[in-house]
Amino acid sequence: MAMIEVRNITKAFGNLVVLKNFSVDFDQSGVTVILGPSGTGKSTLLRCINGLETIDSGDILVDGLSVREKKNLKDIRIKCGMVFQQTILFPHLDVLENLVISPIKILGRPRNEAIEQAKELLNKVGLIDKLHSKHNELSGGEQQRIAIARAMMMNPKALLLDEITSALDPEMSTEVLKIIEKLAQDGVVMLIVTHEIPFARRIASRVLFLEYGSVVSDTSNEEFFTTVKEDNERIARFIQNIHH
């Protein structure tokens, strides 16, 4: 059984149908990069998996739990950590409290244990010295690295990363991408929506290309950047446009 099963879902915002009879499975391994033009439903797909958007028809199962059942949402969200395009730290809390509040309140983890894990993760993302900083004392890249660490605090089975570098300048973007690569090497399962093609090429084990709410191509990394890219004119044009 796939870890995430997206079964024939449709999602519309008013008259705009973003995902139409959309189906795809994600196994509990590797890094899947989701590419495609803007407005094609990539972010909506991640938000539907996390239950932040309700689906109009079809179903999504995360570890066998349906997102249509409200009672499953807490477990689904714990299993699938999500990091957003905009950096969203809780502004009234310092970095450490941002990290420990949810494991303590949601998972009932002892505070000392949560603090230890937070320190380990901050070490991993290279920000242990920012333990007691507030969000306005951090750069955009640092905030995003902390948002990743915060999501990892819940020990998720998969991380959903929604264009997490698109609001950052190239230098900050590189800092964040390095962390993602490190997590991928550690075997963290990830679904990544991104426009960073070289990064996708380095990190992806599977590449999904979406257009108009449907899957145009679903292949391995190697296949995508060789055969598919050569054969599919639309994908070739998309990659070329992004490079320029």
Partner: protein, 220 residues
């Protein structure tokens, strides 16, 4: 020049102190009750259900858009006539000021909750918080920080408008000033003292609001 101050008797000073006590009592009780009413009404205003959210407006809008003195007269002079409810001046003052504070406080609560970006809610949900836990642990502490400075400003204002209770014969600071003026025939002296006493209570609170505003300020 200062001889006129010396002409005030011990009784006058005691009279002023008692009146300050009444002003503070009326204000403290009514802002406490008003704050509780305001929190409840403000949170109902934040309901996703439009009809439920509109219900508090039936209470809020008339009180925000009419003079406090009219509300006070309605409670003190009007209720005995239409509902045979006779209140003493102190009860009428507390009820009216509480309801008035509640109306304004509910607007502050509603605005503060609405000022929290939707993304803050989403970040909490994405970490597994349900609506209650999200509000309790993530949203409410932010709302409180946004609320504190404007709440103090409202409290200072309520302290000042509490002087209207003197119009229903309650001996607060303003009424005490009026009585002493009639006795001493020194309006500038007596109302000068009343002015200074109101200022002495309000100014530190206003400074506290400014300090808190700086201390708890944050950008999203």
């Amino acid at each position: 020049m200062f001889e006129q101050y010396l002409s005030l008797t011990h009784y006058d000073i005691f009279f002023f102190l008692k009146a300050i006590g009444m002003t503070l009592w009326i204000t403290l009780v009514s802002i406490t009750i008003g704050t509780l009413i305001g929190i409840v009404m403000g949170l109902i205003r934040c309901s996703k259900n439009r009809i439920v959210a509109a219900i508090p407006l039936i209470y809020i809008e008339p009180l925000r858009n009419s003079p406090l003195v009219t509300q006070l007269f309605l409670t003190y002079y009007g209720l005995p006539v239409v509902a045979n409810i006779v209140l003493d001046a102190e009860a009428a003052a507390i009820i009216t000021l509480s309801l008035n504070t509640g109306a304004f406080f509910s607007v502050l609560v509603h605005s503060a909750v609405k000022a929290i970006p939707k993304l803050q809610w989403e970040a909490g949900f994405a970490l597994g918080h349900n609506r209650y836990s999200n509000f309790r642990n993530i949203i409410a502490p932010q709302v409180l920080r946004l609320l504190i400075p404007s709440a103090i400003t409202l409290y200072i204002n309520q302290l000042q408008v509490s002087s209207f209770v003197s119009l229903i014969s309650l001996i607060d600071l303003t009424k005490a000033g009026h009585i002493l003026t009639l006795r001493t025939m020194r309006p500038f002296l007596i109302y000068g003292i009343v002015f200074v006493l109101y200022f002495a209570i309000s100014y530190p609170l206003s400074k506290l609001a400014q300090r808190l505003e700086k201390k708890v300020a944050f950008n999203f």
